[in-house]
Symmetry: D2
Subunit: 346 residues, 4 copies
């Protein structure tokens, strides 16, 4: 059993990590921290976990935690995570960071969109934790920057096409993404009150969301080219799920052939990417609660476009599930362990 801790476990991502880890056959969840709830039983804060997790939240005491665990999940706000990750890393622990602080290869890019990064040395060591692209590097990593929820759905759709060289790099890639509200977190805020979100729909931060540079950089790192990306997020009145509708301009030259064949070749052995037959498009309820990424597409040859649609659960493949997938890889476990939950429909 691998003893682990979750630092900052009182948000939706933290609760989801506990949900998954509590049933992981090779992991022993020992410590969950929360400044706000320190001292209170997990089951009291999250009644869904009554009888599932017997822990109480504790304060953040790194030395004590280090004596208990071999690996740490950090589910903290951006910026806060930088030094916490560093502390555990320096204590020799494997760290999987779910903030944005260790996702960027280019520290300047991080600083342009977030704030100063006080540990550029560690940022340079961290591996971007998208197993379908970086499995080998993750296996060797001691710090994994767990991908953003939106980037996961976009990158999985785009990299196979970019590597094929069939994308017209002179035209922008448009990623029109729609997310459930858990992506906004569990902090009290007027904008995510039930009555503000229910029975309504909106776009926000079009072209200015911080996941846009993350997507762009990973496309470059994974495919070696620098497409222009316009990212347009939207808020959906649902709890979980991201559907990304991606408009891919195809190059005039090399023919793409059958997109399904391209994806099948790329994702042949992947346990968590499900390719839909031609003519079918994903729906978020089909991945709810699971680590799957469903992928479908519609060719639009008259427009020189391929429309690719992916669906993930933002809290699972977009956050906690992918983090556990990374843990499994880092510790040489079977990659699906703890992640075989069947999607909850309806």
């Amino acid at each position: 059993m691998i003893p682990v801790a979750v630092i900052g476990a009182s948000g939706y991502t933290g609760a989801e990590l506990i949900r998954i880890l509590a049933r992981h056959p090779r992991v022993d969840l020992r410590v969950v921290t929360s400044r706000q709830y320190a001292g209170r039983p997990v089951a009291e804060v999250f009644p869904s976990l009554r009888g599932v997790c017997g822990l109480s939240f504790t304060a953040y005491e790194p030395a004590a935690i280090c004596r208990e665990v071999a690996a740490v999940f950090t589910a903290l706000p951006h910026k806060t995570a930088i030094e916490v990750v560093a502390a555990f890393h320096e204590a020799g622990k494997k760290v999987i960071d779910l903030s944005a602080d260790y996702r960027f290869g280019d520290a300047d890019l991080y600083e342009a969109w977030y704030q100063e990064h006080s540990r550029r040395d560690l940022l340079a060591r961290a591996v971007y934790g998208l197993p379908e692209l970086n499995r080998a590097a993750i296996a060797e990593a001691d710090i994994v920057g767990n991908p953003g929820c939106y980037p996961t759905g976009a990158i999985l759709a785009l990299v196979p096409l970019l590597r094929r060289g069939v994308v017209d790099l002179d035209r922008p890639l448009v990623v029109d993404a729609k997310s459930g509200t858990s992506g906004a977190g569990r902090a009290a805020a007027v904008g995510t009150l039930f009555c503000e979100v229910n029975d309504s729909f909106k776009a926000y931060k079009v072209g200015s969301h911080r996941h846009q540079p993350e997507i762009a950089e990973q496309l470059f790192l994974a495919a070696g080219c620098r497409p222009s990306v316009l990212f347009a997020p939207h808020l959906v009145p649902m709890n979980r799920g991201i559907l990304s509708t991606i408009y891919v301009p195809l190059a005039a030259g090399p023919d793409l052939g059958d997109p399904l064949a391209v994806y099948e070749e790329f994702y042949r052995d992947e346990p968590f990417v499900r390719l839909l037959p031609a003519g079918e498009l994903p729906v978020t309820s089909a991945v709810r609660g699971s680590n799957y990424c469903d992928l479908g597409f519609v060719p639009s040859p008259e427009n020189g476009l391929l429309v690719v649609v992916t669906a993930i659960d933002n809290l699972v493949k977009g956050a906690a599930g992918q983090a556990v997938q990374n843990l499994n890889i880092m510790f040489g476990l079977e990659e699906e362990l703890g992640l075989q939950t069947v999607p909850l429909y309806p």
Copy 2:
């Protein structure tokens, strides 16, 4: 008072027409027909209308109806409407048809996407009922083809830009639209059951929805150019509302200038188009139950794109409200009559 009938009043569009007409100060709703509910009081089928509408549904008897009314709204399925509209037209009634049967200028285009059109002569007489574009023609029309819900939101966003000549016609216009579920109608179907739609999100009919040619034709008729349009509809777990996120490729040549100024000039005197200040984007709850179209935008100069976002209530500005707006114009009434309902938030 103008005596009117609604033919096929048992769907959501029919119920919405009754809701609006019941409070219209210059309209007297005399007849509502429904094959399914003939003989039953409206208030029994639609309890919201108890005490509001004292009528009972009747069977479709055109001769009797013609003796009662001066104008007719037809809210029938496509194809069924063709001959019904013709019958009332030939009896000298003004007709506003909410199906697709009288929306197309090009009968061949209609037939390519729907079915044979048995009254091409009348189709040629019909006016596309988008008042912001065709007010003068609507005033003279005796048959109005009321626009589709999706096309309303898309066309209002695009025509001002196309007329300015700032759109790059060599690249496709992408209309990524998200609709509430009332757009799918009130017929029993598994796909629109509560549990299939709630807490979920999906794309459907990308590139193959019948509103795509309607949008394309109206852009041509209104702006004189033939942009390529890719239309991608999505289903939102909400009752009402369409949010359209439209990716407009800008031409390299003539500078667009301030998009807000362009829209302000175009919509200066329009009572139902609300332009949002720079930096704000629409939300469907802000138009719920009203005839407004809210419009905002985000420039993306690095991608050569302008992202325009519109929000309408699909049952009001996207159907019944616009139909009543057309009626007002056809009968020389003040255009806002019966349509001043304030949006219902939250």
Copy 3:
């Protein structure tokens, strides 16, 4: 035109008052105050009101407000309202208070459930603003305590039965009520975040909600008897609406007869109470956005019970609409003015 102000207009009740008053033909809304949003246009805070209300929120400056208006709606938190109401009252303004501060006849009861009441003199002057019971007193009142949302639905169901003397006062009345989430207000709070409420259902404050003594006292004042009331509220994942399922123990002695006849006699001339035919039960969507209270029932003679079910929109008949109804009565206007909005279905 009656010039009015809304004090504390930035919550859901405040927004709803603006929505209704903006279209009231005899009211001129002059002032809307908000500590939080002072200086900002209403249309910026509530985009639904763009083009509807041109005012900006102002700070609370009673002297200046008194120069502008003849009547005041106070939509403030409990306790805060006490002195604000007093100030306007002493300046000779009619006041309709939407807090609980002027709802109780028994000041001790108020203090037992809320806090000390610093203006018992004014509390004694205030009239409970349920027009169906207190119309004459409201017409003479200068301070109206606008009823709570839950009490409105419960009291309208119960008073006709209590006045008939058919209720068994030795057994408790059980009011099992289910409310949409707007009843919890617009303050940021974890418990009313979208993800906490959506796709979920819960009971809360069973037997300890402050509306329980309000219901009990009004039943006593209206019917002269003191039934025992158990009030059990629940939170529904919807924006608006309260459905109250009320279990009424019937006395063995005098026969109730046909409950519908009892209600018809009581509510014969009421514009906002809609009685459903035997066998039909209300649904909240049928009253959404309107000032109606729908009422139906099911006899359960084998249990000695009559089950009465009412549906209201908690923001309209349960708050802002009823407040405007009271204003109309206080100023001798036709009672339905400004309140004829048809329910928004679906």
Copy 4:
């Protein structure tokens, strides 16, 4: 591995059985039948099950099925199940029937509320499959009538109190229950369309729902007394979950003592009943997707009532999960096998 079949697997209960059985470590799901979808892959009809269940639906061919399996789940409409269950029983298979056809001990009662029962002999053999009450009998049974969803939540709340003899049998038990919409099934119907249910709430079949006699009979069988039960179901705009608020009249005589102690004694060793601490009430999201029944209560001594609240997932503990729990018991497996899914929150 126990080879099993699901007969009538195309509804929500069927899909849920597949979801659970697909991950059951000791069950091999061999056959799923559906008249409507015969020949189509399960993953095509239920995209959530892609990669999870490789079967295709087949037609109902009992002889062939009997050669494959040792146990059968029947998830058919009432009446249809009677002979299907009989056929498998006579072929020596263990049968767990999820319809109402084998739930009643009193065949006359069944016939009074449903229709004629053609196999009274088998009905007499069937065991009511509520493990917390009937575990020993279930272990010996060859036909189990799986409880209704509403009865499960009501009976688990009531039996411990009835057995204690603390309930006043002269006053009615009121069960005010609120169910998610999946309880209404997956058949196309106007009443369960998204727009009819979303953002709305209603009561239905108060006092006339078929689960009322089921509850009443089981209370009698389990506790030996015949309380009067009034059952009032409501429809909640959510997918899954039943919250039952139960008003229990307490007898004047023997003191109940601490209700928590009563429940703790009764449910001490039950893996799926979670008792909440005093002062906490259940919420359906805390049991979503799990086999738990959460139970809390509020005493109301001034009314002589104890209010008990239970929450279950209607598709799991209220249907498929309980059926699998019964299977485990019938085959001598550990009772929690396949049922350890953690509730999905949010």
